[in-house]
Amino acid sequence: MIRAFFAVILAGIVDFFGGSAFPGGRLYFGFVLMFVLARQRNTSATFGACASYGLLLDILHPAFPFGTFTLAHAVLAAVLTGAGARSAGIDSKRLYAAAFFAVFAYALFLELSLQAASGLFGGLRTPHIFSAGFFRALAISSATTLLGAFAAAYAFHALQGFVRRRFFIRS
Protein backbone atom coordinates (compact mmCIF):
# COMPACT_ATOMS: atom_id res chain seq x y z
CA MET A 1 0.00 0.00 0.00
CA ILE A 2 2.77 2.44 0.99
CA ARG A 3 4.82 1.39 -2.06
CA ALA A 4 1.78 1.98 -4.29
CA PHE A 5 1.27 5.41 -2.70
CA PHE A 6 4.83 6.57 -3.36
CA ALA A 7 4.83 5.06 -6.84
CA VAL A 8 1.63 6.87 -7.76
CA ILE A 9 2.95 10.21 -6.40
CA LEU A 10 6.10 9.77 -8.48
CA ALA A 11 4.02 8.82 -11.53
CA GLY A 12 1.80 11.87 -10.97
CA ILE A 13 4.80 14.20 -10.83
CA VAL A 14 6.23 12.69 -14.04
CA ASP A 15 2.81 12.91 -15.77
CA PHE A 16 2.20 16.51 -14.74
CA PHE A 17 5.66 17.96 -15.32
CA GLY A 18 7.04 15.71 -18.04
CA GLY A 19 4.02 15.23 -20.28
CA SER A 20 4.59 18.32 -22.43
CA ALA A 21 7.90 17.00 -23.77
CA PHE A 22 6.35 14.02 -25.51
CA PRO A 23 4.19 13.80 -28.63
CA GLY A 24 0.55 14.36 -27.68
CA GLY A 25 1.51 16.48 -24.68
CA ARG A 26 0.21 14.10 -22.02
CA LEU A 27 1.39 11.09 -20.01
CA TYR A 28 -0.73 8.65 -18.00
CA PHE A 29 1.74 6.58 -15.96
CA GLY A 30 -0.49 7.02 -12.90
CA PHE A 31 -3.32 5.24 -14.67
CA VAL A 32 -1.04 2.40 -15.79
CA LEU A 33 -0.13 1.87 -12.15
CA MET A 34 -3.79 1.84 -11.10
CA PHE A 35 -4.56 -0.59 -13.94
CA VAL A 36 -1.79 -2.94 -12.75
CA LEU A 37 -3.06 -2.77 -9.16
CA ALA A 38 -6.61 -3.51 -10.32
CA ARG A 39 -5.32 -6.46 -12.37
CA GLN A 40 -3.70 -7.83 -9.20
CA ARG A 41 -7.13 -7.48 -7.52
CA ASN A 42 -5.61 -5.29 -4.82
CA THR A 43 -8.79 -3.29 -4.13
CA SER A 44 -7.61 -1.12 -1.24
CA ALA A 45 -4.33 -0.24 -2.99
CA THR A 46 -6.25 0.57 -6.22
CA PHE A 47 -8.60 2.91 -4.36
CA GLY A 48 -5.73 4.50 -2.42
CA ALA A 49 -3.72 5.02 -5.60
CA CYS A 50 -6.72 6.53 -7.43
CA ALA A 51 -7.52 8.89 -4.55
CA SER A 52 -3.87 9.96 -4.09
CA TYR A 53 -3.38 10.52 -7.82
CA GLY A 54 -6.62 12.54 -8.09
CA LEU A 55 -5.74 14.63 -5.05
CA LEU A 56 -2.22 15.26 -6.36
CA LEU A 57 -3.57 16.47 -9.72
CA ASP A 58 -6.09 18.68 -7.94
CA ILE A 59 -3.32 20.31 -5.90
CA LEU A 60 -1.07 20.78 -8.94
CA HIS A 61 -3.70 21.73 -11.55
CA PRO A 62 -4.94 25.22 -10.67
CA ALA A 63 -6.87 25.64 -13.92
CA PHE A 64 -9.80 23.46 -12.86
CA PRO A 65 -12.04 23.56 -9.75
CA PHE A 66 -10.54 21.67 -6.81
CA GLY A 67 -12.12 18.23 -6.56
CA THR A 68 -12.49 17.62 -10.31
CA PHE A 69 -9.63 15.14 -10.49
CA THR A 70 -10.38 13.55 -7.10
CA LEU A 71 -13.99 12.84 -8.00
CA ALA A 72 -13.07 11.63 -11.50
CA HIS A 73 -10.52 9.23 -10.01
CA ALA A 74 -12.95 8.06 -7.31
CA VAL A 75 -15.34 7.06 -10.11
CA LEU A 76 -12.40 5.46 -11.91
CA ALA A 77 -11.50 3.48 -8.77
CA ALA A 78 -15.02 2.04 -8.70
CA VAL A 79 -14.79 1.11 -12.39
CA LEU A 80 -11.29 -0.36 -12.06
CA THR A 81 -12.03 -2.47 -9.00
CA GLY A 82 -15.10 -3.83 -10.81
CA ALA A 83 -13.16 -4.49 -14.01
CA GLY A 84 -10.07 -5.80 -12.21
CA ALA A 85 -11.26 -9.40 -12.12
CA ARG A 86 -12.13 -9.29 -15.83
CA SER A 87 -8.78 -7.69 -16.84
CA ALA A 88 -6.89 -10.36 -14.85
CA GLY A 89 -8.27 -12.97 -17.27
CA ILE A 90 -6.85 -11.28 -20.39
CA ASP A 91 -4.07 -13.36 -21.96
CA SER A 92 -0.67 -11.82 -22.64
CA LYS A 93 -1.29 -11.63 -26.42
CA ARG A 94 -4.30 -9.38 -26.01
CA LEU A 95 -2.91 -7.50 -23.03
CA TYR A 96 -1.13 -4.84 -25.12
CA ALA A 97 -4.26 -3.98 -27.09
CA ALA A 98 -6.40 -4.06 -23.92
CA ALA A 99 -3.94 -1.79 -22.10
CA PHE A 100 -3.89 0.67 -25.02
CA PHE A 101 -7.68 0.88 -25.15
CA ALA A 102 -7.85 1.21 -21.36
CA VAL A 103 -5.38 4.15 -21.37
CA PHE A 104 -7.20 5.77 -24.30
CA ALA A 105 -10.58 5.37 -22.57
CA TYR A 106 -9.12 6.83 -19.36
CA ALA A 107 -7.68 9.81 -21.29
CA LEU A 108 -11.05 10.46 -22.92
CA PHE A 109 -12.89 10.09 -19.61
CA LEU A 110 -10.49 12.55 -17.94
CA GLU A 111 -10.89 15.13 -20.71
CA LEU A 112 -14.69 14.81 -20.58
CA SER A 113 -14.59 15.23 -16.79
CA LEU A 114 -12.51 18.41 -17.17
CA GLN A 115 -14.90 19.67 -19.85
CA ALA A 116 -17.90 18.97 -17.61
CA ALA A 117 -16.27 20.53 -14.53
CA SER A 118 -15.26 23.72 -16.37
CA GLY A 119 -18.76 23.92 -17.90
CA LEU A 120 -20.51 23.46 -14.56
CA PHE A 121 -18.25 25.26 -12.10
CA GLY A 122 -16.10 27.55 -14.28
CA GLY A 123 -12.38 27.37 -14.88
CA LEU A 124 -10.33 26.91 -18.02
CA ARG A 125 -12.45 26.41 -21.15
CA THR A 126 -11.28 23.56 -23.36
CA PRO A 127 -12.80 24.07 -26.82
CA HIS A 128 -12.41 21.79 -29.86
CA ILE A 129 -12.48 18.68 -27.69
CA PHE A 130 -13.98 16.55 -30.45
CA SER A 131 -11.59 17.50 -33.23
CA ALA A 132 -9.52 14.93 -35.12
CA GLY A 133 -6.32 16.51 -33.78
CA PHE A 134 -7.54 16.03 -30.22
CA PHE A 135 -8.24 12.30 -30.69
CA ARG A 136 -4.90 11.89 -32.47
CA ALA A 137 -3.13 13.58 -29.53
CA LEU A 138 -4.89 11.24 -27.07
CA ALA A 139 -3.98 8.15 -29.11
CA ILE A 140 -0.34 9.25 -29.41
CA SER A 141 -0.19 10.03 -25.69
CA SER A 142 -1.68 6.63 -24.83
CA ALA A 143 0.85 4.81 -27.04
CA THR A 144 3.73 6.90 -25.63
CA THR A 145 2.60 6.13 -22.07
CA LEU A 146 2.47 2.40 -22.73
CA LEU A 147 5.86 2.36 -24.44
CA GLY A 148 7.32 4.31 -21.52
CA ALA A 149 5.65 2.04 -18.97
CA PHE A 150 6.94 -1.14 -20.64
CA ALA A 151 10.43 0.38 -20.93
CA ALA A 152 10.35 1.40 -17.25
CA ALA A 153 9.10 -2.06 -16.17
CA TYR A 154 11.82 -3.76 -18.23
CA ALA A 155 14.51 -1.43 -16.84
CA PHE A 156 13.25 -1.99 -13.29
CA HIS A 157 13.37 -5.79 -13.67
CA ALA A 158 16.83 -5.63 -15.24
CA LEU A 159 18.10 -3.41 -12.40
CA GLN A 160 16.48 -5.64 -9.80
CA GLY A 161 18.16 -8.72 -11.35
CA PHE A 162 21.52 -6.95 -11.51
CA VAL A 163 21.35 -5.85 -7.87
CA ARG A 164 20.34 -9.35 -6.78
CA ARG A 165 23.19 -11.00 -8.70
CA ARG A 166 25.74 -8.37 -7.69
CA PHE A 167 24.99 -8.06 -3.97
CA PHE A 168 22.99 -11.05 -2.78
CA ILE A 169 24.12 -14.12 -4.73
CA ARG A 170 27.66 -15.24 -4.10
CA SER A 171 29.05 -18.20 -6.06
Binding site: I13, F17, G18, S20, A51, P62, E111, T126
Partner: protein, 259 residues
Protein backbone atom coordinates in the same frame (compact mmCIF):
# COMPACT_ATOMS: atom_id res chain seq x y z
CA UNK B 1 -19.90 -3.43 8.81
CA UNK B 2 -17.57 -3.95 5.85
CA UNK B 3 -19.70 -1.66 3.71
CA UNK B 4 -19.51 1.08 6.33
CA UNK B 5 -15.73 0.76 6.38
CA UNK B 6 -15.60 1.04 2.58
CA UNK B 7 -17.61 4.25 2.71
CA UNK B 8 -15.18 6.09 5.01
CA UNK B 9 -12.62 6.96 2.31
CA UNK B 10 -15.10 8.32 -0.30
CA UNK B 11 -16.91 10.33 2.38
CA UNK B 12 -13.58 11.74 3.61
CA UNK B 13 -12.67 12.80 0.07
CA UNK B 14 -16.02 14.49 -0.51
CA UNK B 15 -15.73 16.24 2.88
CA UNK B 16 -12.26 17.50 1.90
CA UNK B 17 -13.59 18.93 -1.38
CA UNK B 18 -16.54 20.60 0.36
CA UNK B 19 -14.28 22.03 3.08
CA UNK B 20 -11.85 23.32 0.43
CA UNK B 21 -14.58 25.36 -1.23
CA UNK B 22 -16.53 26.36 1.86
CA UNK B 23 -13.78 27.18 4.37
CA UNK B 24 -10.28 28.74 4.33
CA UNK B 25 -8.86 25.19 4.05
CA UNK B 26 -7.86 26.06 0.48
CA UNK B 27 -4.82 27.99 1.79
CA UNK B 28 -3.18 25.09 3.72
CA UNK B 29 -3.84 22.78 0.76
CA UNK B 30 -2.12 25.27 -1.56
CA UNK B 31 0.98 25.08 0.66
CA UNK B 32 1.50 21.56 -0.69
CA UNK B 33 1.74 22.99 -4.20
CA UNK B 34 5.08 24.74 -3.62
CA UNK B 35 7.13 21.67 -2.51
CA UNK B 36 5.46 19.59 -5.22
CA UNK B 37 6.41 22.17 -7.85
CA UNK B 38 9.96 22.30 -6.48
CA UNK B 39 10.11 18.51 -6.72
CA UNK B 40 8.63 18.49 -10.20
CA UNK B 41 10.44 21.37 -11.90
CA UNK B 42 13.62 19.26 -12.51
CA UNK B 43 11.33 16.77 -14.30
CA UNK B 44 10.08 19.60 -16.54
CA UNK B 45 13.65 20.75 -17.22
CA UNK B 46 14.68 17.17 -18.03
CA UNK B 47 11.66 16.80 -20.33
CA UNK B 48 12.62 20.03 -22.13
CA UNK B 49 16.18 18.73 -22.52
CA UNK B 50 14.84 15.46 -23.99
CA UNK B 51 12.68 17.43 -26.42
CA UNK B 52 15.60 19.61 -27.48
CA UNK B 53 17.84 16.57 -27.91
CA UNK B 54 15.16 14.83 -29.98
CA UNK B 55 14.75 17.97 -32.14
CA UNK B 56 18.50 18.13 -32.68
CA UNK B 57 18.74 14.42 -33.48
CA UNK B 58 15.85 14.17 -35.92
CA UNK B 59 15.68 17.66 -37.38
CA UNK B 60 19.32 18.77 -37.46
CA UNK B 61 19.28 19.59 -41.18
CA UNK B 62 15.99 21.53 -41.01
CA UNK B 63 17.25 23.36 -37.92
CA UNK B 64 20.46 24.39 -39.68
CA UNK B 65 18.40 25.82 -42.57
CA UNK B 66 16.13 27.61 -40.11
CA UNK B 67 19.14 29.11 -38.31
CA UNK B 68 20.42 30.46 -41.64
CA UNK B 69 17.03 32.00 -42.40
CA UNK B 70 16.76 33.48 -38.91
CA UNK B 71 20.27 34.94 -39.12
CA UNK B 72 19.28 36.57 -42.40
CA UNK B 73 16.11 37.86 -40.78
CA UNK B 74 18.06 39.23 -37.77
CA UNK B 75 20.45 41.11 -40.03
CA UNK B 76 17.51 42.57 -42.01
CA UNK B 77 15.78 43.62 -38.80
CA UNK B 78 18.97 45.12 -37.40
CA UNK B 79 19.34 47.12 -40.60
CA UNK B 80 15.69 48.24 -40.44
CA UNK B 81 16.05 49.16 -36.77
CA UNK B 82 19.14 51.24 -37.46
CA UNK B 83 17.17 53.11 -40.14
CA UNK B 84 14.11 53.54 -37.94
CA UNK B 85 16.06 54.92 -34.98
CA UNK B 86 16.66 58.11 -36.97
CA UNK B 87 13.00 58.53 -37.96
CA UNK B 88 10.74 61.01 -36.22
CA UNK B 89 7.85 58.79 -35.10
CA UNK B 90 5.67 60.42 -32.44
CA UNK B 91 6.68 59.20 -28.95
CA UNK B 92 4.34 56.49 -27.64
CA UNK B 93 3.18 56.24 -24.08
CA UNK B 94 5.11 53.44 -22.42
CA UNK B 95 3.47 51.08 -19.95
CA UNK B 96 4.68 51.66 -16.42
CA UNK B 97 5.33 48.05 -15.51
CA UNK B 98 7.53 46.00 -13.25
CA UNK B 99 9.13 43.05 -14.97
CA UNK B 100 9.15 39.95 -12.80
CA UNK B 101 11.33 37.04 -13.91
CA UNK B 102 9.64 33.66 -13.67
CA UNK B 103 10.17 30.07 -14.76
CA UNK B 104 7.74 27.86 -16.61
CA UNK B 105 7.49 24.77 -14.40
CA UNK B 106 4.86 22.81 -16.31
CA UNK B 107 2.73 22.83 -19.41
CA UNK B 108 -0.68 21.28 -19.27
CA UNK B 109 -2.77 20.08 -22.14
CA UNK B 110 -6.54 20.08 -21.78
CA UNK B 111 -8.73 19.61 -24.83
CA UNK B 112 -6.76 21.10 -27.71
CA UNK B 113 -5.34 23.86 -25.55
CA UNK B 114 -2.23 24.26 -23.43
CA UNK B 115 -1.53 26.43 -20.41
CA UNK B 116 1.80 27.29 -18.81
CA UNK B 117 2.32 27.16 -15.05
CA UNK B 118 4.72 29.77 -13.63
CA UNK B 119 6.53 29.54 -10.30
CA UNK B 120 5.56 33.09 -9.29
CA UNK B 121 2.25 34.33 -7.85
CA UNK B 122 0.58 37.17 -5.98
CA UNK B 123 3.36 37.17 -3.36
CA UNK B 124 5.79 38.15 -6.11
CA UNK B 125 3.55 40.93 -7.46
CA UNK B 126 1.98 39.08 -10.36
CA UNK B 127 -1.52 40.21 -11.29
CA UNK B 128 -4.25 38.73 -13.46
CA UNK B 129 -4.14 40.05 -17.02
CA UNK B 130 -0.39 40.80 -16.98
CA UNK B 131 1.53 40.16 -20.19
CA UNK B 132 4.18 37.43 -20.32
CA UNK B 133 7.14 37.46 -22.71
CA UNK B 134 10.45 35.70 -23.14
CA UNK B 135 13.62 37.61 -22.13
CA UNK B 136 14.18 38.12 -25.88
CA UNK B 137 10.89 40.06 -26.13
CA UNK B 138 8.65 37.43 -27.72
CA UNK B 139 5.05 37.74 -26.50
CA UNK B 140 4.04 34.42 -24.87
CA UNK B 141 0.56 35.15 -23.50
CA UNK B 142 -1.36 36.60 -20.58
CA UNK B 143 -1.90 35.61 -16.96
CA UNK B 144 -5.40 34.13 -16.52
CA UNK B 145 -5.23 32.92 -12.90
CA UNK B 146 -2.98 33.92 -10.02
CA UNK B 147 -2.41 32.04 -6.79
CA UNK B 148 -0.14 32.76 -3.83
CA UNK B 149 2.98 31.15 -5.28
CA UNK B 150 1.98 30.19 -8.82
CA UNK B 151 0.19 31.62 -11.82
CA UNK B 152 -1.28 30.31 -15.03
CA UNK B 153 -0.59 31.69 -18.51
CA UNK B 154 -2.87 31.36 -21.51
CA UNK B 155 -0.60 31.36 -24.57
CA UNK B 156 -1.37 33.55 -27.59
CA UNK B 157 -1.97 30.43 -29.69
CA UNK B 158 -4.96 29.43 -27.51
CA UNK B 159 -8.36 29.70 -29.23
CA UNK B 160 -9.54 31.80 -26.29
CA UNK B 161 -6.78 34.37 -26.75
CA UNK B 162 -7.18 37.68 -28.63
CA UNK B 163 -4.74 40.61 -28.41
CA UNK B 164 -4.45 43.97 -30.14
CA UNK B 165 -1.51 44.07 -32.54
CA UNK B 166 0.20 46.28 -35.07
CA UNK B 167 2.91 45.78 -37.64
CA UNK B 168 6.44 46.84 -36.76
CA UNK B 169 6.76 48.61 -40.11
CA UNK B 170 3.67 50.81 -39.73
CA UNK B 171 2.17 51.37 -36.29
CA UNK B 172 -1.01 52.72 -37.90
CA UNK B 173 -1.91 49.20 -39.03
CA UNK B 174 -3.95 48.04 -36.04
CA UNK B 175 -5.53 44.60 -35.92
CA UNK B 176 -6.42 41.71 -33.62
CA UNK B 177 -4.33 38.54 -33.29
CA UNK B 178 -6.29 35.42 -32.36
CA UNK B 179 -4.99 31.98 -31.46
CA UNK B 180 -5.88 29.06 -33.69
CA UNK B 181 -6.57 25.82 -31.78
CA UNK B 182 -3.41 26.13 -29.73
CA UNK B 183 -1.23 25.80 -32.82
CA UNK B 184 -0.95 29.01 -34.83
CA UNK B 185 -1.98 32.66 -34.99
CA UNK B 186 -4.29 34.66 -37.24
CA UNK B 187 -4.23 38.44 -37.61
CA UNK B 188 -7.80 39.62 -38.18
CA UNK B 189 -9.61 42.91 -38.79
CA UNK B 190 -6.77 44.41 -40.83
CA UNK B 191 -8.19 47.41 -42.72
CA UNK B 192 -8.35 46.68 -46.44
CA UNK B 193 -6.21 49.70 -47.30
CA UNK B 194 -3.49 48.76 -44.79
CA UNK B 195 -0.03 48.33 -46.29
CA UNK B 196 0.85 44.87 -45.03
CA UNK B 197 2.90 42.25 -46.82
CA UNK B 198 4.32 38.80 -46.23
CA UNK B 199 7.35 38.88 -43.97
CA UNK B 200 6.09 41.84 -41.91
CA UNK B 201 6.48 41.41 -38.16
CA UNK B 202 3.38 41.68 -35.94
CA UNK B 203 4.01 43.21 -32.52
CA UNK B 204 1.86 44.06 -29.50
CA UNK B 205 -0.10 47.29 -29.84
CA UNK B 206 -0.51 50.27 -27.55
CA UNK B 207 -4.21 49.38 -27.45
CA UNK B 208 -3.54 46.09 -25.63
CA UNK B 209 -4.15 46.48 -21.90
CA UNK B 210 -1.27 45.81 -19.47
CA UNK B 211 1.11 45.03 -22.31
CA UNK B 212 4.24 46.90 -23.41
CA UNK B 213 4.26 48.03 -27.02
CA UNK B 214 6.47 46.13 -29.44
CA UNK B 215 6.53 42.61 -28.01
CA UNK B 216 7.11 40.25 -30.94
CA UNK B 217 4.10 38.13 -31.89
CA UNK B 218 4.81 36.55 -35.28
CA UNK B 219 5.74 37.01 -38.91
CA UNK B 220 3.08 37.44 -41.59
CA UNK B 221 3.13 34.20 -43.59
CA UNK B 222 0.13 34.63 -45.90
CA UNK B 223 -2.49 37.31 -46.46
CA UNK B 224 -6.08 36.48 -47.42
CA UNK B 225 -8.26 39.14 -48.98
CA UNK B 226 -11.36 38.83 -51.14
CA UNK B 227 -12.63 41.64 -53.35
CA UNK B 228 -15.38 43.55 -51.53
CA UNK B 229 -14.35 42.44 -48.00
CA UNK B 230 -13.95 45.16 -45.39
CA UNK B 231 -10.94 43.53 -43.76
CA UNK B 232 -7.95 41.42 -44.66
CA UNK B 233 -6.77 38.44 -42.66
CA UNK B 234 -3.22 37.20 -42.29
CA UNK B 235 -1.77 33.93 -41.02
CA UNK B 236 1.17 34.51 -38.67
CA UNK B 237 4.11 32.23 -38.04
CA UNK B 238 4.86 32.36 -34.28
CA UNK B 239 8.44 33.17 -33.27
CA UNK B 240 8.76 30.33 -30.79
CA UNK B 241 7.14 27.03 -30.01
CA UNK B 242 5.64 26.60 -26.54
CA UNK B 243 7.89 23.64 -25.81
CA UNK B 244 10.98 25.84 -26.03
CA UNK B 245 9.91 28.27 -23.32
CA UNK B 246 11.76 28.07 -20.00
CA UNK B 247 12.35 31.52 -18.55
CA UNK B 248 9.86 34.35 -18.98
CA UNK B 249 9.28 37.94 -17.88
CA UNK B 250 5.92 39.00 -16.45
CA UNK B 251 4.96 42.65 -16.98
CA UNK B 252 2.91 43.52 -13.94
CA UNK B 253 1.49 47.06 -14.06
CA UNK B 254 3.03 49.22 -11.29
CA UNK B 255 -0.36 50.14 -9.81
CA UNK B 256 -1.18 46.48 -9.19
CA UNK B 257 2.09 45.49 -7.58
CA UNK B 258 1.72 45.32 -3.85
CA UNK B 259 -2.07 45.41 -3.93
Amino acid sequence: MLKKKNLIAPVALIALIVLYHATPLSEPIQWFRVPLIKAGSPVYRAARAIRQWENGFFHARALAQRVTLLEQSVSELTYALAGASGSADPPQEELAAVTIPANVVAQNAAGSERTLLLDRGTEDGIAKGAAVATPQGVFVGKIISVFTHTSLVRPLTSSESAVAAQTSRDSRVQAVVRGQRGLSLAMELIPQDAAIREGDVAVSSLLEENTPVGLLIGTVATIAYDEGDLFKEAALAPFISLGDIGEVMVFSPVSRVGE
